[in-house]
Structures are given as structure tokens and as C-alpha cells.
């Protein structure tokens, strides 16, 4: 028990140390952007993994939190001149509040499984329509964040700044998930995922447990939205609350490995390698990446329900079995 736990800690350290000097080594702007975006999707996937992977609550509308965070920073910055770092914190708070409200409504009435997924999807759509309507969110036109280069406004001069910021966030999330796996809250969350009635019989309050998980998950996704806005300096209802962000958020951990510490990171890099190959092979046909994602999702669910992480475990088990067989023969 203690050994794999410690191994995860070492893996996080190695991951951080390997990625840390990357911007100094990668000279190509394209590849640096690519790695930065992979980290961004890893971070978004980590948010989803918390609720979906550990809590078993499959959200189809994580854009709800991402978009709320993105609009929160953009609106505060444009209309009230609030600093982007403060906006980042407030975005997390706002998305956490939206998470609390959603969770309170949905879990209060015991909606699980596909009902939960549909409600989150519907909430994201409602917010998309609202963002399309109001003037302060820029309606259908969206919001252009004024260019104010400088680390003080979270608009780094080079991509390297964003890379390091996202690396810190991803590593912080890795540490948080690692803690979660070894904490009472994590044990309760996984118990609720596995069997809610059995968890209740052991004194676990599923409502509070799931509510805390959706608040944390929402806050992280919201902070991802805040980073996104500073990275692209633009947000509109389709990007913020549209289904494509929700799909990315859930696909990344599903491909990497649900309910594992490194699943989202692995999934984000795998998914973006595949998406890049798809773009090279098929060109920039609109919507093609979604078709590709759909095929990928079906294949994953059919053959690798535990994600790429499950593949590693499978390979490990196979090797051990072979070794045992070899030992028996000798």
C-alpha cells in the first residue's frame, strides 16, 4: 500500500523536473504552443477527473464551469479593470459557486448517471444562451480582452510563461489528486462512486461528498477558463459554453485513465498527438476532429475501459505472468 503511494510522489517529481526546462530546449514556437495546449487540456481534464473519475459523476457540461471562469475574468478585466491574477482567483470562486448551485440542485434530487450528464449538458447550454443574450458578456460577438503584455497581467511575452504557469497548475493538481487518494475524503468519494447505498450504510453522506467534489472540480475548471482567456485574449459563447470544451474535458481523462493521478496528463498528450496526426492526414476539415474523438471514445470504451493507464497495468500483469511461467519452466 505504502509503496505505490510513494511511487506516485516520485513520478510527480520526475514529471515536473522533466517538463520544467522544456521551453529552453524547444526552439519551435509551434511545438511550444502544442505542449502548452496539451498542458491546458490536461488541467481541464484533471478538473473533470476529480468529479467524474473519482466521484463517478459523469458531467457532459464541464464547459459550464470553464465558461463561467473565462467570462468572469474577462468581464471583470474589461468592465472593472480588475487585475488578471485577481480575476483568476475570482474565476475559480465563481465557477465553484456555480458548481455548488448545480450540485445542490442535482444531488438534492438524487439524479445520477445519464440524468446527471444530461442536466449538466442542459445547464451549459442555458449559460451559452444567456451569454449570447446579455450585453455585458458581449452577446454573440464575444469579448476581446485588451492586450496588456506583462506577467503582472498574466499575459506573458512568450509562450514559455504560459507553459510554466500551466505546468505549476497541473503539478498542483497532481499533488492534490495524490493527496485525495490517501485521504478520508477521497476514500469516501470513491466509495460513493462504487456503491452509494453501501457507502451510506457506512456513515458516508453522499450528498456532501459529491457537493464538495463538484465545487472543487468546478473551481479548477473555472481557473482553467481564466488562463484560457489570457492565452487567446478572446472568448465567445460558443467557445466558453459550447459542447466542444465539455467533450475535451471528459475525453482527456477517459483516454488517459479514469480515477488515476496521471490519467488526464497522459490522456491530454495522447489526444493531442492523435488530433495533430488527424489534422496532418485529413487537413483542416471542420468537425473532423469531433468525428475522430467519437471513434476514439468508442474504441476506448470497448477495448480499454481503464484508459491508457489500464494498458500499462495490463502490460505489467502480462509480464509478471510470463515471468512466473518462465520460472515454472526453469
Amino acid at each position: 500500500m505504502r509503496t505505490p503511494t510513494l511511487r506516485t510522489g516520485w513520478a510527480i517529481l520526475v514529471f515536473a523536473l522533466v517538463l520544467l526546462p522544456l521551453p529552453l530546449l524547444i526552439k519551435s514556437e509551434f511545438w511550444l504552443t502544442w505542449v502548452t495546449l496539451a498542458l491546458f487540456y490536461a488541467y481541464l481534464g484533471q478538473a473533470w477527473n476529480l468529479l467524474g473519475g473519482y466521484g463517478g459523476q459523469f458531467s457532459f457540461g464541464h464547459a459550464l464551469f470553464f465558461g463561467t471562469g473565462a467570462y468572469c475574468t474577462a468581464v471583470l478585466q474589461i468592465h472593472f479593470g480588475i487585475n488578471a491574477w485577481a480575476g483568476f482567483v475570482l474565476a475559480a470562486v465563481a465557477a465553484g459557486i456555480v458548481g455548488a448551485a448545480t450540485g445542490w440542485l442535482v444531488f438534492r434530487y438524487g439524479l445520477r448517471g445519464s440524468y446527471f450528464a444530461l442536466v449538466t449538458l442542459a445547464f451549459a447550454e442555458v449559460f451559452r444562451i444567456l451569454a449570447n443574450t446579455f450585453a455585458f458578456t458581449g452577446a454573440g460577438v464575444g469579448l476581446l480582452v485588451p492586450l496588456q503584455p506583462g506577467a503582472w497581467q498574466m499575459q506573458f511575452e512568450s509562450k514559455a510563461g504560459f507553459f510554466w504557469l500551466l505546468l505549476i497548475l497541473v503539478v498542483a493538481c497532481l499533488l492534490f489528486t495524490w493527496w485525495l487518494q490517501n485521504a478520508r475524503f477521497g476514500a469516501r468519494l470513491m466509495a460513493v462512486r462504487e456503491n452509494e447505498d453501501a457507502a451510506r450504510a457506512l456513515g458516508v453522506d453522499p450528498f456532501n461528498t459529491k457537493l464538495l467534489a463538484i465545487i472543487a472540480s468546478g473551481a479548477i475548471a473555472g481557473s482553467a477558463g481564466a488562463v484560457y482567456v489570457q492565452l487567446f485574449l478572446y472568448i465567445d459563447p460558443g467557445i466558453a459554453y459550447g459542447p466542444s470544451m465539455s467533450v475535451e474535458a471528459l475525453l482527456v481523462p477517459i483516454i488517459g485513465g479514469l480515477g488515476t493521478v496521471f490519467g488526464p496528463v497522459l490522456g491530454a498528450f495522447a489526444l493531442h498527438t492523435i488530433a495533430e496526426i488527424g489534422r496532418l492526414v485529413f487537413g483542416e476539415a471542420p468537425g473532423l476532429n469531433l468525428v475522430l474523438y467519437g471513434v476514439l471514445l468508442v474504441l476506448m470504451v470497448l477495448f480499454l475501459p481503464n484508459g491508457l493507464f489500464g494498458l500499462g497495468r495490463f502490460g505489467f500483469g502480462l509480464r509478471r505472468r510470463l515471468q512466473r511461467k518462465g520460472g515454472a519452466n526453469a
Binding site: R184, R188, A198, L202
Partner: protein, 250 residues
Amino acid sequence: MLEVAKLSKRFGGLVATNNVSFTVQPGSISALIGPNGAGKTTIFAQISGFHRPDEGDIRFEGISLVGLTPERICVLGIARTFQIVQPFAGLTVRENIAVGAHLHRAGRKAALDHAEAVAQRVGLGPQLDKPAAALTVAGRKRLELAKALATDPKLLLLDEVMAGLNPAEIDEIIPIIRGIRQSGVTILLIEHVMRAVMNLSEHAWVLNNGGLIASGTPSQIAADPQVIEAYLGHGAAERMKAAKTEAQHA
């Protein structure tokens, strides 16, 4: 310790529990028996908060449990097992038991250590790091017991922990249950395995069609004509008596 008073529960037209009253003495092992569909599990579900009774009261150490949630009732000190086993299939045996152990232990290490101790006690020691899904029926029954026991309950409700076990496995689990009682836990069990009921319990209540039909020591109950009729059909007690007299005459 546990007082059930005039408890009634209906599901549509079906009366699942009909005016049932009984009292469980602290430190005892008692049993709730009866034919299939008599309403035993429904009574457990009401005590543990999964079903709300329509009428009547349930008091545990003087506190009314009616309207409390299952998790609250567990915190008060009542743990239950499920007749249809409910393991956390994706977790290991150790992690399964630790969920129960966490009820009164915030630290992970304390919970895992306690889980290990409980596992040893119910004979799951060698299976600690197996996934719960890989256990046999007997193993899963033990896991149910271990999870409930890990919450440090004052009262343990065991719902058919011996169903589906072979005689050798039953002989192994009986001393475990007796050991739990000796450590100060009161036990109320639902059981079909009469050998276990006769062997373990000091007191038993017989339930039929939702209502209590007999109460007493296991041997008193085994001789009760009403109980025999409930199990073997109308007129069975008469026929058995007649058969016995005939055998004596012959």
C-alpha cells in the same frame, strides 16, 4: 438498547411490516426469522434508515431513529450488512474496509491499520490486497461483515451473512460472530440457516406476512405450532403431531 414499537410499513396494497414491536437487549445476540417474503429485510431497512416507517417508532438508546438518514444512524452506532452483498467492486479489500474505518478515524494510516485488524478478525487477512470483485461468495459475505464492523458499531444488523455458504464455511463464521459479541457489540441477525440461529442466538422473533407470530428462545420457537405452520403450510403442525403419535403407537 433497540426498541421497535408498533412498526408498520406498506408498499401500495402490500403490508410489509404490520404492527411489529420488539426490544433488543444490550450485549445479546438475537435473531429475526421467518419464511421468504415475511418482511425481515424491510424491518432492517427501516431500522437503518433506508425506508421510512409509515407508523410506529424505533428508538436506539432512547433516540428516535424515524426520519434520520442511513449515514446519521450509522454515526449513532448501528451498522448493517446487506443480504445482497454490496462491495465497492473497484477497490481492494483493504480499501473497502477502510471506508468503514474512516467513520471514526480521519487519518488514512489509522483507518488502514484498523481495516487490517478487522480483516484479520473475520479471516480476510490473506485477501487484503485483492480487488473486492475477485472474492468468492464466502469472501464477500465476510467483507460485508468486516465493513460494518470497521465502523465500531454498538449494534450490528446482519442480514443473512450465512446464506449461500457451505456447512464448513458456516462453521467458520459462527465463532467469528460470537467473538464480535464478546467484544461488546450487540447483534441482531436475520438468518435462514437454522443451525446458526439455534447455535448463536439467545432470543428469536418469528415474522410471517409482516407480523410477529412468535417470540422466545430458539428451542421454544422450534416447537411452536404457529411457527411450524408458517414454514410448512396450514395444518402441518397437526399432521406432524399425528404422525408422531402414530409412530409411537406402531
